[in-house]
Subunit: 136 residues, 2 copies
Amino acid sequence: MSAATTLKRSRQRDAILAFLKTRKDHPTADTVYMSVREEFPNISLGTVYRNLTLLTDLGMIQKLSMGAGVPDRFDATIVPHYHFVCTECGNVMDLDMNTMEEVNRIAGAGFDGYIAGHVTYFYGQCNHCLNAKNNC
Amino acid sequence: MSAATTLKRSRQRDAILAFLKTRKDHPTADTVYMSVREEFPNISLGTVYRNLTLLTDLGMIQKLSMGAGVPDRFDATIVPHYHFVCTECGNVMDLDMNTMEEVNRIAGAGFDGYIAGHVTYFYGQCNHCLNAKNNC
DNA sequence: ATAATTTCAGTAATCATTACTGTTTTGTTT
DNA sequence: AAACAAAACAGTAATGATTACTGAAATTAT
C-alpha cells in the first residue's frame, strides 16, 4: 500500500540531530526548538516535532515518555539503558547498569500473553538536589 | 502553613470510587465520566478529574501515567503491583508478580543520588490479541 | 535547469487536563 | 431545626503538549 516515500535530507533535521548528540540530558522538544533557533531563527516548533518523531521512527534517536502533562524527552543514545528522574528538579539522567532481561521472563511466568519488553524509570533525588537540601 | 482543609463527602465522589472498585481494567477519566453519568447525568468531566486527583492524593486509588498523549488511567487497587500494556489494543492489565525491590539497589550502585523507587510497565501482546491474529 | 516530491514555516486544530465562577451541598453551630 | 461557613459542584474557559493543514521553499533525480 504505502509507496516507499524517499527521504530527503534537510538542514533543519541535521541541526536537530546534531544538537541532540551534544546533549546528555535528554532535552524536550521545546529545548531543542530554542537551541536550533539560534541557527535557524525561522524554524517552527512543528518542524522540530515532526523531525524528532521521524528520527525516532528511523531508530536514530529515542523518545522518552515520562507520563501525563510532562513533555516528552529525546535521547540521541539508542543503546538500551535505564533512566533516572529527579522528583525535585525533574531532570532526567542515564543510569549505568545492565538491562534486566530476566524480568521479562519473571513477568511472563504468570501471564498468558507475550511480553516483548519493559520500560522502567527510577525516581528519587539527584545528587545536586540532595546537596542543596543539606545547605540549610 | 496550609490550613488543614476539612474533607466533605460528596455523592459524586462516592460514585466515582464505587465505580472504580468494580473495574479491574484501569479505566481512563473519560470512561469513569461516561459511567458515573448514568447515575449523575449532570456530572462534569472536571468533577471527575478533580475527584480522581483527590482520591489519588488521599492514597485511596492510584494513577497510572502511561506516557504522552495517552490518557492517564486509574486503579482502585493500591497494593503495589506491575502493569502490562498491550501494544495492539492498548488495554492495561495487572501482572501477578512480586515487586522487585532489589532493582533499586542495583540501580543505586553506580549512581550518586538517592533512588526512592521505580516504575515499570511491561509491554507486548495480550492473549486476546494473539488469538485474534491466528484467526487469519 | 526542470520536474517531481519532500520538507518547510506559519498557523489552526486536537486532546487531555486544569483553572475559574457563581451556585448548590455538606457538616457544624447555634 | 434554621443559619452559617466551607467544600464541592456544573458549566465553561484556559492551558500546554502535540499534531494536522496549507501554500511556499528546498532537495534530489532526470
